[in-house]
Subunit: 324 residues, 2 copies
């Protein structure tokens, strides 16, 4: 990546532009946001076409509903050979849109697993992605050279790259992000509902504060994110409601209740132990002229919870330092 155009300068795009520094050029459709970014010392284009002119990489950092129009402009104006990626929190709908509207460009879907409940340019910071997982989608027809370019860029931003298919990503984030957002909203609303609400809030401590933190996200942002992943989220919500139906008759029985609680406790402890134990490194080698073995190895790595930590390319040879 020589120059990266970041289209959309909200929390994620704005943080990425800060991280890129001189190698980035930003654009946002809101003039006040462009002014704020320029005031803070970043390169800002006044049109999408201006932003595309110098860039070899384009990052779509706008909400899902804004993508179709933006993709039409990019399809008309971007150079062939431009690497197109995005940071949208659902991947299958974006993949479908790109296939429909900008099929000639090399597209690799992306999703940085970082964020806060804040939004907008002023909420961004250059360190938002430090150490975060960054999904880089790998489909049967993804150009592996483009994937490697994105992975090299993302590891350079201090992130670990998780390879997976768009559909697998969407199921995973339904579980670990979108469902928690629904539950946070339901918990927060339920707490204040009816008599006893003021007392309940006065008593709220750690478990409530943590369990409702993401309810502070603007409802339209959460709604756009969830609605874009409605099918996967619906399945996960059904599974959760089934689990709650299971525990309902056990509430008064400490032993049975402890048995129901144990798998969640174990999952959380296993995850913490994994994080503490540290990485198990391995090298993956492959060739861009024979991409299938590397594609399979990368998808297996992501499916096992692993990630790519750094990328070295020499001509068509690729060496990836991986961790699982």
């Amino acid at each position: 990546m020589k120059r990266v155009a970041v289209l959309g300068l909200g929390l994620i795009g704005g943080s990425l532009l800060r991280r890129l520094g001189e190698r980035g050029i930003g654009y946002d459709r809101t003039p006040a946001t462009r002014t704020a970014a320029a005031r803070d010392g970043y390169a800002v284009a006044h049109t999408v076409v201006d932003a595309l002119r110098e860039a070899d990489t384009v990052v779509l950092a706008v909400p899902l509903p804004a993508l179709p129009g933006l993709l039409d402009q990019i399809a008309r104006h971007a150079d062939a050979g431009t690497l197109l990626t995005d940071v949208t929190s659902v991947k299958s709908p974006v993949l479908a849109l790109v296939r429909e509207r900008a099929p000639a460009l090399a597209y690799v879907g992306g999703h940085p697993m970082a964020g806060t409940e804040a939004s907008g340019w002023d909420a961004g910071n250059a360190d938002l992605f430090a150490g975060a997982a960054w999904v880089a989608c790998l489909e049967p027809d993804t150009d592996l050279a483009a994937w490697v370019r994105l992975a090299r860029g993302v590891t350079g931003w201090g992130c670990r790259v998780v390879p997976c298919a768009a559909a697998a990503h969407d199921q995973a984030v339904a579980r670990i992000s979108h469902l928690p957002h629904l539950l946070a909203a339901a918990l927060a609303a339920g707490a204040v509902d009816g008599p006893g609400g003021q007392l309940a809030l006065a008593l709220a401590a750690g478990s409530f504060r943590d369990g409702t933190r993401v309810a502070a996200t603007r409802p339209e942002l959460t709604a756009a994110m969830c609605a874009g992943n409605a099918a996967a989220l619906g399945a996960e919500l059904d599974a959760l409601v089934a689990a709650l139906a299971e525990v309902r008759p056990l509430l008064a029985d400490p032993d049975k209740l402890a048995g129901w609680l144990a798998p969640g406790h174990d999952a959380r402890q296993r995850r913490m132990a994994q994080l503490k134990a540290g990485p198990v490194p391995e090298l993956l080698r492959g060739s861009l002229t024979d991409p299938e073995p590397l594609r399979r190895a990368l998808l297996a790595l992501g499916g096992a919870g692993g990630h790519v930590a750094s990328v070295i390319t020499q001509g068509d040879r690729v060496t990836l330092a991986c961790v699982r």
Copy 2:
């Protein structure tokens, strides 16, 4: 309070004994815990009776199932005039047990709204309660002089005292503590369940980490806490499941979904704004010889989300600095 006996030296009791310093004497039925507390420089009794001998205040800091036996010992050996309180996370069952087994003692139910997912003596620290809400239960038959004694002690430990009836407390904590614990366990277990579990954990970021934090609590502790409050928790769980059933058909509709999310967002924001705006102080004055007006005023304060910040007594006159 001249000398406070803390019976049970887990996370809460151990933290309280540290906070009390020389004014506390601890007891735990596990010899290794007694040894650890004594090694750390605290006064430790080797029997319940020894602990009671010097104390004018007794704090029960054992799990609910251990209470009946302990109450029998206290009823036999405690002086008349001893203030009995507890730190159990449900209040109606403890109130019923005390009425049954130690009816002669002045009992005021208590619950510090602080804790971590850790447990045991070593997890405690003197600052655990700093700034926390501490419920002091007020029933129609609670001795108001005893309530004021507890409130004075608790404010001296750096806590705000929330007056409410045991039943109101139990409903509130079902909402803001016990239900979040169930949801955390369901979320954590669901995330790793079936294919895609490893990938999901690898992508887990803030919303998952926060939404599942309390799933790290030992399942037996969570189960004992929830089972002790099964009726109130069941009602809150039913309300939550009903809210989730409401949102299920809206998932693909961003506008309707945003509408469903808004009350949770508003509740969370209102709470944050309240905390930022700072306290609205007021003085409550009353007399222990005519306790009913003060009892009513205190219950109204707690029901409105307020608390007592400090307590001054002069003979039968009581002045409480309150905040709502």
